[in-house]
Amino acid sequence: MSPEPITIKGLRQGLLVALGEGAWSAGLRALEARLSASPSFFRGGHIALDVGTRTLSHSEIEDARALLARHQVELWAVVSKNPATEAAAQELGLVIDLGLPRPRGPETVSEGGEEPAIEGAGPEPVEGAGPEPVEGLVVRRTLRSGQRLRHPGHIVVIGDVNPGAEVIAGGDIVVWGRVRGLVHAGALGDQGAVICALDLAPTQLRIAGLIARSPEEHRRKPVPEVAVVREGQIVAVPWHGGSVGRGG
């Protein structure tokens, strides 16, 4: 795994990526590596960059913005303890104080401008590629078509995930309801992540870099199922109680 000190947190408004300290060029390389390692987790997202105490010019911030744009990620905020960097980011029209709402539009739940569900930003940052993300996010409602939930930790949905909705988690996904949309667990690369649902009939199921579709056959009575990766393939098995092993 990568030694770079990049950490990823879920915020109410999107993701916060902290680049640690050190040379800017090294920070950007690390960021690039992180984006390339799990493109589907980041794609289409909005992120805030925590650049620490570095002094950054306009063009250095623009470099980061361009790099993110190449991975279809929008930079909306730059957090820094350095006043010069803050000023530069501000002049570029970026948000510099995460206490304020994002200037326009949506992220976590679609362009509906909808109440975003990502609010699980605990005090502990999540190790980006770590096998055991620690944050959890509980969403108590049905995700409808066009709504998207993205969180670096685990996600629990109490409700349905309808066709056209997307749930993307760095960790496990548990749905107390029906899954008929797209769910992606372990989106930061964790093949040990699992997906559990009372009725698992997704459009598509993804764990880490693997993709599976639901079998076409008509479903019998739905039973709770658990999807895990076994021998390089996603398999869904009925849940009969007992613990759900990670890895395997």
């Binding site: 739940v109 679609s110 509906g112 401008g113 909808e114 109440e115 049905t142 995700l143 409808r144 078509s145 066009g146 709504q147 349905d160 309808n162 066709p163 056209g164 008929r180």
Partner: protein
């Protein structure tokens, strides 16, 4: 008493919004309600044709908004029902001519004099949808028993929840009873279960609708001659608070499941 503003929306186009607005307007007015139907599909106006009133239009919604006429002058009086009025859309403009606030103002000024204001929304989730739902007290979602229409309806319901315009109620249009019976069409219970909102109407597919639409003579005028006509009157009665059983479609299996579901939703 001030009017109820009800917006009829769908997400997907072509599911029958305008037909339903025309027929609901007629059915409510036949029950003595003072009704205005507003065609909010600026640039693609249709409601006037369905009501057979196209040749009576002098001013339209955009004229009202831009102050070229008084609201009263733009209202087209139905030729058959004394309590039914149409506020037509402009055909030569586009959706950018109307802002959500404009619709709220227009509906506010109509509230005093009427009982129901039915707003026929544009398809889609853009500006035309946004301004149509802005004044709504209630929203009716129209869908067909097909996968694409249901998904778009779901999207719209999600957006309505975000705007706190809810809870919307559902009309399933174009049910083909024989196809349902053969299991070739999405089941009503499946649709209601997925969208998880209360059902207010089921309208069967009926060739008479097409004929009526082309004639500008909504089917609801002759309520007894067709099952679709009866369905429109049933929706009107439910809007007025009556407890009307759903049409049977000669398919007890479907309805057995359906009723169970509607009840479990706490209707």
């Amino acid at each position: 008493m001030a009017a109820r503003v009800i917006t009829i929306s769908s997400g997907k186009g072509g599911v029958g919004k305008t037909t339903i607005v025309a027929n609901l307007g007629v059915a409510l007015a036949m029950r003595g309600q003072r009704v205005v139907v507003i065609d909010a599909d600026v640039g693609l106006r249709n409601l006037d044709v369905m009501l057979g009133l196209e040749n009576r239009i002098v001013y339209d919604l955009v004229d009202v908004i831009e102050g070229r006429c008084r609201l009263r002058q733009a209202l087209v009086h139905d030729k058959r029902l004394s309590e039914l009025f149409l506020l037509p859309a402009a055909q030569t403009r586009d959706k950018t001519a109307v802002q959500p606030d404009d619709m709220v103002r227009v509906c506010e000024s109509l509230r005093e004099q009427h009982d129901f204001i039915l707003v026929d929304s544009a398809a889609g989730i853009e500006q035309g949808f946004r301004y149509a739902i802005a004044p709504a007290d209630e929203v009716l979602i129209v869908t067909n028993p097909e996968v694409a229409a249901v998904r778009d309806a779901d999207r719209v319901i999600g957006l309505l929840e975000a705007e706190e315009k809810g809870p919307a109620r559902l009309i399933i249009n174009r049910i083909k009873p024989d196809m349902v019976r053969r299991g070739e069409m999405l089941d009503i219970a499946d649709v209601v279960e997925l969208l998880a909102i209360d059902l207010i109407g089921i309208v069967p597919e009926d060739q008479a609708i097409l004929i009526a639409t082309n004639r500008g003579e909504p089917l609801a005028f002759s309520s007894d001659s067709s099952s679709a006509g009866r369905a429109f009157h049933n929706i009107a009665r439910r809007l007025l608070g009556e407890d009307v059983p759903f049409l049977t479609l000669r398919e007890t299996g479907v309805l057995g499941r359906l009723f169970r579901f509607v009840r479990s939703e706490g209707d």
